[in-house]
């Protein structure tokens, strides 16, 4: 079971939508994942415990865990490519 950290400014609004979309997409591809939400400022301290970090905002810190930017899941522009990229990291 791969673990995804989903971060946005407050960890309450856009990360909720993004986490849900990622879970649904991964499930559809037969990839089992769990998601955890947090604030962007918490990413640096938590990223090591996850397989992938997905952000809707600007994350400027360092992370050894791969980071995927997922604003497209809100705007819809390039959404499918972003979802594919996320699931590719989690296979």
């Amino acid at each position: 079971m791969k673990r995804v950290l989903v971060a946005c400014g407050n960890g309450i609004a856009t990360s909720t939508v993004v986490a849900s979309k990622i879970r649904d997409y991964a499930k559809g591809k037969g990839v089992e994942i769990t998601t955890t939400q947090c604030k962007l400022m918490e990413v640096a301290g938590k990223a090591d415990y996850f397989d992938l970090v997905v952000t809707t905002g600007q994350f400027s810190g360092n992370s050894t865990t791969p980071v995927v930017r997922a604003l497209s899941l809100l705007t819809g522009i390039g959404q499918e490519a972003t979802l594919e990229s996320i699931v590719d990291h989690l296979r």
Partner: protein
């Protein structure tokens, strides 16, 4: 499917004439406060958050911003909508150095962490639908905006 979210038409603003995003953020958050949906300090929190984590979205069609603040400053979940007469500048959520001309502001007052997922998903579906944002942007009356929202939400 409809949600038990009641949108108060007092929270819909058309033809807002603002020069800076702080003005529209002020108008929407003050009305939310006056109607009791949010607590003291919400306005300041939204303004502060917008500076650090901007909420402009580079969507297709009319660009939308979704300002919000911490759930513990909210009494009851709702949204407030402002349509700008002329777009104002918000920074992009993904890049604080990228200005966007924002036409529609949907302020989210969310009272619980990780909650209101259906409401948020539906708001995102509006953002992604150019025909709906066009309808909101060109609405002449609050009733027209409410009509679009009620169909989706």
């Amino acid at each position: 499917m409809s949600l038990d979210l009641k949108i108060n038409d007092e929270l819909v603003f058309l033809d807002l004439k603002c020069e800076r995003n702080e003005e529209v953020l002020g108008v929407l958050s003050e009305k939310l406060h006056k109607l009791g949906y949010v607590k003291d300090g919400y306005r300041e929190a939204v303004l502060e958050r917008e500076k650090i984590y901007p909420t402009g979205l580079p969507s297709m069609g009319h660009k939308i911003a979704i300002p919000h603040a911490d759930y513990n400053l909210v009494n009851e979940t709702t949204i407030a909508i402002g349509v700008l007469d002329e777009p104002v500048t918000f920074q992009s959520m993904e890049n604080v150095d990228q200005p966007l001309d924002i036409k529609i502001v949907i302020m989210l007052a969310i009272s619980e962490p990780h909650g209101q997922i259906e409401m948020l998903q539906k708001i995102v579906s509006i953002i992604q639908d150019e025909s709906l944002t066009e309808k909101i942007a060109t609405s002449k009356t609050k009733a027209e905006v409410m009509n679009v929202l009620e169909k989706v939400l």
